[in-house]
Structure formats: structure tokens, C-alpha cells
Chain length 146, copies 2
């Protein structure tokens, strides 16, 4: 599963490859990805805020795409809004992790919409860690569009 | 001025170059930048949400950096939070524009903090246009750190 989505994202979103993003582990409800610092360096020798967002967005999109595919949801997945909080500078290669809460109200709603073949909004967060510290949190309002 | 900041950003934030971002016009209070679609394409043949954010962040950072330099503000410029609203898909090369409101309360506060050589927060928005349509708005909470 990891290799399938790795190839899908690298081939269809080439910037994910150029920033050194790759999937370390993936299931229909969890993702762990890594990104290299070097192509994303900024003037302070830490990761550029825009690269942190792009890597986190690639991760969040992949997680939701994988989830939708597992549910056989015939929908395009697009982002409507993104919010990122930068908590600490990122001075090294970094990890991105996210988990879909399958106990949440929005997940139950998603299952219903899949069964009805209707569009559905879904909000998902992913965290960026570097050197074992939480450095940023991205929250994306996605829409599965039928 | 444009060439100085173009070189500064491309050399210190290399991802700005790899996504095909460049400055078209720059002053201490306005920026206009362009970005190529091709390196930023996504699975829908439009611009990847993460690339739109990165290009807009590079633009907003450059605008504020140029403003701070013009005021001789001896401060590092970092992002604390970013919020982007995606209004329409971006199917072609796109433009980013932003303007600092020098009549705003936060700008007057900025001038005061510069004169006192103290840190200062500053919120700035930039817009992404493609094919003459407003496609996304990024708002960044920056901090000038002394």
C-alpha cells in the first residue's frame, strides 16, 4: 500500500518528490511520512514555512485519499482551507504523522455519504515532529467531491 | 530592489526556485510575483495546494522582509501561523500580489517597535490570481524577532 501511494503521489504531485517527501508507513487510517531538510532550507538554516506546509499537505491528502479508496469512495479529494501553526523551528529532517479518528462524528457521516455516493467535507490534522519535538500542526478542511 | 530580493530568496530558500516562483515587481509596501504551473501540478492537472501555499508564503515573506529592511529593522522575520482559503482551482501559471496597509494600526505599531528596537507581530495577506480570477487567499501571522 505504501509503495502504491508513494508512486501515485510522486508521479502526480511532482513537488512532493522535489522536496524530499516520502511515505514511511501508511494504512487506511494512519500515515507516517518523512521529509529531508536540505531541499527545504531557509535563510535561518531551518525548514522553510512553505515547505513544512507542502509536506504536511501531501501527507494529509495521501492519508485521506487512502482512506477514501479503502471505502471505495468514488470522489475527488480537494482542499478547501488549510491552517498551520508553527510552534518551533525545524533544524533537521522531519516526520509527519496523522491518524483518522474512526470514532468521530465526521467519520460516521463520511461512511453515510460514501454509501449514498454524495460529497462530504472532512477536517484532518497532521503533526510535524523534528528531533522528537512537536514543531507544527496542519489542519486541513478537505472535501470529497462526487 | 527586485533583483536583490529575487537573488536573496532563490539562494536562501531554494524551494522558491524549484517551484518556479519569481518576483515581477517589488517595493517596500507591495509585491507582485508569478509562479509556473508545471512544477506544481497535481493529480487534477491544477496547482497542488501545498505549492500554492509555498509560493504565497515566499511572496508574503519577501514583502515583509523588504518592508523591514526599508525601515532598517534589525530583526529576524518568521512565520507563527498561516491560513489559506482555496476558492477556485488554479489551472495555469499564477500571480501572487500583496500590499501592506501603511494606514493600519498594526503598521503604526510596527514603526514604534522599530524605533524601540523591539520585536513585533504583523499579519499580512496575499492573493493568488489565475486567469484573472481570485483563486486563493493566504493570511500569515509573522513575527519580527529582535
Amino acid at each position: 500500500m505504501k509503495n502504491h501511494y508513494q508512486n501515485l503521489v510522486h508521479s502526480t504531485i511532482p513537488v512532493s518528490k522535489s522536496i524530499g517527501w516520502r511515505i514511511e508507513a501508511l494504512s487506511a487510517t494512519t500515515i507516517r511520512a518523512s521529509t529531508q531538510l536540505k531541499p527545504n532550507i531557509n535563510i535561518h538554516q531551518t525548514a522553510f514555512a512553505g515547505s513544512l506546509y507542502a509536506a504536511a499537505m501531501a501527507s494529509a491528502w495521501t492519508l485521506l485519499k487512502c482512506c477514501g479508496d479503502a471505502l471505495e469512495y468514488k470522489a475527488e479529494l480537494v482542499a478547501a482551507e488549510g491552517n498551520i501553526q508553527y510552534l518551533k523551528p525545524v533544524p533537521n529532517d522531519f516526520l509527519i504523522s496523522g491518524e483518522i479518528n474512526t470514532q468521530s462524528e465526521q467519520y460516521l457521516k463520511l461512511l453515510e455519504r460514501v454509501s449514498l455516493n454524495q460529497s462530504c467535507a472532512f477536517k484532518q490534522s497532521v503533526e510535524i515532529h523534528c528531533d522528537s519535538q512537536l514543531c507544527a500542526i496542519l489542519t486541513v478542511q478537505f472535501v470529497f467531491k462526487v
